[in-house]
């Protein structure tokens, strides 16, 4: 689980990109509190070939990535 809540752009995307570059995970969950950051990261990981699913988690969003 990667938690990018409370981070301003572009830190959520930087954090997720770093995790993917480092570990190349087949699946990953990312926790957001900002819709804009969620949209940015979703666009980025989709371009890398991940399938995405968004789950509302209280006031936050959980993005589930899988290949």
């Amino acid at each position: 689980m990667v938690d990018v809540r409370g981070l301003l752009c572009p830190m959520p995307l930087v954090t997720v990109r770093k995790e993917i570059e480092k570990n190349a995970p087949a699946s990953l969950e990312v926790l957001f509190d900002d819709k804009g950051a969620l949209d940015n990261v979703t666009r980025f990981v989709t371009g890398l070939g991940y399938k995405t699913e968004v789950v509302k988690d209280g006031p936050d969003y959980k993005l589930v990535l899988s290949k």
Binding site: C9, R17, D34, F44
Partner: protein, 357 residues
Amino acid sequence: MKKINWPIVLAGGLVGLAAVVLTALGNPANMGFCIACFLRDIAGATKMHSAAVVQYFRPEIVGLVLGAFIMSVASKEYRAKAGSSPATRFVLGVFVMIGALAFLGCPLRMMLRLAGGDLNALIALFGFAAGIGVGVVCLNKGFSLKRAYDVGKAEGSMLLVALVGLFILSLAVPSLFAFSEKGPGSMRAPALVALLIAVVVGAAAYKTRLCMAGGIRDGIMFKDFRLLFGFVAVFVIALIGNIVMGNFKLGFAGQPVAHSDHVWSFLGMALVGWGSVLLGGCPLRQLILAGAGNGDSAVAVLGMIVGAAFSHNFGLAGAAASADAAGGVGIKGRIAIIVGFVVFAAISALNIQKQEN
């Protein structure tokens, strides 16, 4: 060919159009919108500085924050957050403003000046992009001001409440405030029209995350040019508007509220670019984030207001060229910009997180 993101193109175009309209209605030339100039005018109106030509409680600032607030609430995305290195953000805001006022404009006015044919702004654009490049290097090395946390709703609305309250007070009891009788501060679109236009722009800027620094930053970092479309749209629509209105004049000399001190315009805007990346967005974006409940961005805006007061109280701001003088950035302003670079380097170095193996 990247797919064009039409919402952000429309938002950028709306900003460009609003700027042309506000200028036609009375705002200074190439200054339909200028976050740095308008925060400076507010600092002057509240007597935080005594530069008599730049004092007015600009409704545009109030409208931008209010528009972002309304849109974030309507979108059910309003969320009060704070706690991400607020004191550091304050200092970044101070020096971003000092850099902007050396050049005589924020990144948004830089594009509006360029759209008016002011080629001095092109030099500043190169500086702005260079500063963003330095900021991107910091981000890639692990720079972070750490996360913000949920706070009470009141904390997220402090800047908005203060701005709206002071704006109403400035209309009800204008004698409390200082208002310029000549110079840029005396050139104003009608207050309520300016407020309304800015509310619409603020709402659009919130919804599309329009940011003058974000486009270049994301282009360098991620090859993501979505925000850059908005940046370009501001320029294109303002350019068309200026040509139609007969306000386009290509050249370096004789430009409104501008000077041709190229080295210090470049360096001033490089400071703005670097600081904007460290803050997570340009001055416009800081206002929009503050409206949507971000207390850290509100602190950055307060830093900018104090930076504006410093700029004029200490003689750091650039002087516009006139018939009698070439204008430019004086020795004190140059030293302040250099100090700004040193401070940003220290802030960057101290906030780079060690990479895990």
